[in-house]
Symmetry: C2
């Protein structure tokens, strides 16, 4: 398992992003939508914001500039979870151990709070502190692409289509689906850090693409192994739904070695950065070692 | 009634925005979400995009620069209609005489198509053709504010809260609600045109604020008079729901004179622009003369 240094750093950086979001969200009032927005952005592990801060640190981007993009990616992530949890989507009552937004308020507030968090994310990207206007515009453009109908939303739609399809997805199809649904928003922090630094995004994007896929494979493994008492049930549920996962396609051992291979690939991509990238290496290992 | 010149110009300019959106939306694939996005942006009157093109013309902003913002405001408007029509919101089956997106596809696709149209609107604002990066960033910032939890989404939430409240709204409250719900996105085109031109947005915003409110008052009047056979039913429905409208608060005659007063106010705000602003004057008159 990972050292306590990494865990402490993850917690501290996530708290910074949390505090930044608390202050930034103060611009809104105290009506239900504003309360739901605040409720939804807090309480997660903050992996995307953490990745953004660490990737920015690697390029020596001052943290006060990087915090806006870290806040934006967490706001987009929070909006996507609110909408994914809706009854017409995944229909989940609990998220991060708390009632989902539509259970705590209602579906209308959940739709609106998600909508407003997306606007808020783009608004954050316009702050002067971030840097020159051309950098801010590049961040807006890349975030819109990652979040929209060629990225996260496309992946979500592919996931829904897969649930009602007659045939299970192939490995190539599920890899594409996940690279859109989860990968786009895990890659964006690496891309954004390079934009902030005015550097070539390629090396860090290779890293981020690998950990994004490893993240999803680890999720599928956790669905089977996370609660040993429920492992069979979880597997049967997916099989009944005809839904392919990395575990059904590769087997449990195959999925574990693929995840490990991707972590190694991610570490290799960090080689040019030397020792400075140790936290990002830890993050890659953490992604397949976490318990959720 | 308004001359055929104005109607022809409205139709021609709206077609320009429609064609622009068709081309811009080609970047997405042909899955259900992309199809639903295309379905939703077409078929309206295109008032917001028209307002943007005409306000930009007043400042001699080249049309090719203004089209991006015109497309963006229509994309945001389309997303808001998709989400407003959802069963958990206004629960409407028809929009512009066609099945709403959740009837034509399903609720999940409707949530996702709306989400993706919002991302798309912000992506449009990053195009180099629009002008220098600082202008594009100012457009992103003002659009995010108009669309989000201090603008359109706030108004929508206030509208929902009003429907379940014990007491009917006052005139001041309904004016504030509507200035958020409908007004913010009708004002933004005027603001955006001034940003594109590097001019003071104040005069055109006064105009836009007045026509935005007149637009909503006209809507309330149309709810009563639009179909004479259903007038009583529509009125009773609102009264039963305890929902205040400009007509219930001001009376039919009072609402009509308030709408006319606002149109006069809008025309006065255009005085500095002289004859060049004739189309915008026609638009102000059209807004209270239209039949939907």
């Amino acid at each position: 398992m990972l050292g306590s240094d990494f865990q402490a750093r993850l917690a501290a950086q996530s708290r910074l992003v949390d505090d930044f979001l608390t202050e930034a969200l103060a611009r809104f009032g105290n009506d239900d939508v504003a309360q739901a927005m605040r409720y939804a952005v807090h309480g997660g592990k903050g992996l995307r914001g953490f990745l953004l801060l660490e990737a920015s640190a690697l390029y020596a981007v001052p943290q006060e500039r990087a915090l806006y993009a870290a806040g934006a990616v967490e706001a987009i992530h929070a909006y996507s979870l609110i909408h994914d949890d809706l009854p017409c989507m995944d229909d989940d009552d609990l998220r991060r151990g708390q009632p989902t937004v539509h259970k705590q308020w209602n579906e209308a507030i959940a739709v609106l709070a998600g909508d407003a968090l997306q606007s808020f994310a783009f608004e954050l990207m316009t702050a002067k502190t971030i840097g020159p206007a051309d950098i801010r515009i590049a961040l807006v453009a890349s975030l819109a692409e990652a979040a929209g109908a060629r990225g996260m939303v496309l992946g979500q739609a592919q996931d829904i289509a897969a649930e009602t399809a007659d045939t299970a997805l192939t490995l190539a199809q599920i890899t594409e689906l996940q690279s859109n649904k989860t990968g786009a928003l895990l890659e964006w922090p690496a891309h954004a850090a390079a934009i902030l630094a005015g550097q070539d995004p390629a090396p860090l994007r290779t890293y981020a693409r690998a950990i994004g896929l490893a993240f999803q494979i680890a999720d599928d493994i956790l669905d089977v192994e996370g609660d040993s008492g429920k492992a069979g049930k979880a597997l049967r549920k997916d099989a009944d739904a005809g839904k392919a996962t990395f575990v059904t396609l590769l087997g449990l051992d195959g999925a574990k070695s693929e995840a490990a291979r991707l972590v190694a690939e991610a570490e290799t991509a960090l080689a040019p950065f030397g020792d400075k990238a140790e936290t990002l290496r830890d993050l890659a290992r953490f992604i397949i070692a976490r318990d959720r």
